[in-house]
């Protein structure tokens, strides 16, 4: 059975003869979280958009094996003069069942905002609505581009926990972009480290030990893994899989 929801093979994008990102290959499987990390301008968001098919002139092969896609973009420029309530925004690309809509808003903790105007939401609140919208349609491929930006610290942990739950419960493939190396290293199945190209990739453990990764993020970044790994060893030393551990 084919579990792959999206596959990039030697994908890239050049604009005005300059490569934004080049030679990227990886695949996202059902029930798996693939995380893109890398410094600013390393092509993380571009790679996510290539995977989603937003760029028509992308190079290489990009295959999506599902039409059920949820997307939380990094920067979303909504014209705030549009008269759009949260409930209208939730139904934007697909008419949802009332229950699915409410459940999703409940999960991200913004059920009380359902009839509020989008314009009146704070940055963190809107981010929660964005996540709710993406998961409410029960996607098979979920792309989250820095999904917790602007969310308070407590909410951040809860939302990452939610993302992990979604990948388990919905069995959807998740492509995550995050700056939070703690989260990346603890809740991810596969890490792709970008810097205009793939500089290393693999399980969190292999990536953390890769010298390219250390060069890119510094020694402190490797420590984040060892701190985490310490916890992890205590919880799951037996099977060694990363999926099942607790944050």
């Amino acid at each position: 059975m084919n579990n792959v929801v999206a596959k990039l093979n030697n994908a890239g994008l050049q604009i005005n003869n300059k490569w934004l990102v080049k030679g990227v290959s990886f695949e996202v499987k059902k029930g798996e979280i693939v995380t893109l990390i890398g410094p600013n301008g390393s092509g993380k968001s571009t790679t996510a958009k290539i995977a989603l098919g937003i760029y028509k002139n992308a190079e290489g092969h990009v295959d999506k094996y599902t039409n059920k896609i949820g997307y939380v973009p990094q920067k979303i420029s909504i014209d705030w003069t549009l008269p759009v309530r949260v409930v209208d925004f939730m139904n934007l690309t697909e008419k949802l069942k009332e229950k699915d809509l409410d459940d999703a808003l409940n999960l991200t903790g913004v059920k009380n905002l359902k009839h509020r105007n989008i314009k009146s939401l704070s940055g963190g609140e809107f981010q929660r609505v964005l996540i709710a919208r993406a998961i409410a349609k029960k996607p098979e491929f979920l792309v989250l581009d820095e999904p917790v930006q602007g969310v308070d610290f407590k909410g951040e942990i809860a939302l990452y926990e939610l993302i992990r739950l979604i990948s388990e419960n919905l069995k959807c493939g998740i492509l995550l972009i995050s700056h939070d190396l703690h989260v990346v290293m603890s809740a991810t199945d596969y890490v792709v480290c970008l810097n205009g190209h793939i500089c290393c990739s693999g399980t969190p453990k292999t990536v953390a030990n890769n010298h390219n990764y250390k060069e890119l993020f510094g020694d402190r970044a490797s420590n984040t893994l060892s701190i985490y790994e310490h916890k992890h060893d205590h919880t799951h030393s037996a099977d060694g899989t990363i999926k099942t551990k607790k944050i």
Partner: protein
């Protein structure tokens, strides 16, 4: 008693208002009011085409507006000029071309004022048929593309990522804009068509908090403007197109006052 021509004008005007309501909302949401203006300016060229080749005016205007719209979309791809500069370029060049061509057609007596500002006297049964049939086609098409169009209006990337094909609906919507200008040019005239699109929608924006409500209020407001404007033009013998727009302006101003009242009420309660 009302005269036949007046009844015809009412039927035609109401038909136009039903279509400009929803399209006007999208014009505002997508910030296309200047784009509507450009298409309207190019309508003059369409009229000269119609006169030269003895075509139906609405058909010729649609043809030229559609060509200009598609040309504009392609121009945006190949140049680095900002959108408003391109719009200005096209608006004035098509207007100038139209005026120059008209001067060559000296064998035709032509009411240019009627073209610029609309003329209810000239509305005949065929015009009514074109407005209602064309309007129905526009509205049905809009209904079909509503979801992807609205999604891509809110956010292009989201719509594209989740499989809504925003580029295709953008082109379809552009053609709908050309079509509404083509069918309403006789009613309000080419200088005032954009007003008919924007003003009821702007009024509706003041009074609504969701898209469906805004479309509904804009449509009702547009129909009200047509009724008020046409009766006023009968009463005071004022030109029909401008009278409709003045009526729409009055409604817009009323919507502002109304908004203030609600706010004051809210404070008291």
């Amino acid at each position: 008693m009302l005269d036949d021509f007046f009844i015809r004008a009412l039927i035609a005007g109401l038909g136009v208002a039903i279509v400009t309501g929803p399209l006007g909302c999208f014009t505002i949401w997508r910030r296309l009011s200047f784009f509507g203006d450009t298409l309207a300016h190019s309508a003059l060229l369409g009229v000269t085409l119609a006169l030269s080749f003895e075509m139906n005016i609405s058909f010729a205007v649609f043809l030229i507006s559609a060509v200009v719209a598609i040309f504009l979309i392609n121009l945006q791809r190949v140049t680095n000029l900002p959108g408003d500069a391109l719009l200005g370029l096209l608006a004035h060049s098509t207007l100038a071309l139209g005026l120059v061509t008209i001067s060559f057609l000296s064998f035709i007596r032509f009411d240019i004022m009627g073209l610029l500002f609309g003329d209810i006297l000239s509305v005949n049964n065929l015009d009514i048929l074109i407005i209602w049939l064309g309007g129905a086609i526009i509205l049905i098409t809009l209904k079909i593309i509503w979801k992807p169009l609205f999604a891509s209006t809110v956010n292009y990337d989201l719509a594209q990522a989740e499989g809504m094909n925003p580029d295709r609906v953008n082109i379809i919507f552009t053609l709908l804009m050309a079509a509404i200008i083509a069918i309403s040019i006789k009613m309000v005239g080419l200088l005032l068509i954009t007003g008919m699109l924007i003003m009821p929608a702007a009024m509706a924006r003041n009074l609504s908090d969701n898209p469906i409500m805004m479309v509904f209020i804009a449509t009702v407001g547009g129909m009200l403007s047509v009724l008020l404007g046409l009766f006023a033009s009968l009463e005071f013998n004022s030109p029909s197109g401008p009278s409709i727009i003045v009526a729409a302006l009055s409604l817009f101003l009323l919507s502002l006052i109304n908004l203030k009242r609600i706010k004051i009420k809210g404070k008291v309660v």
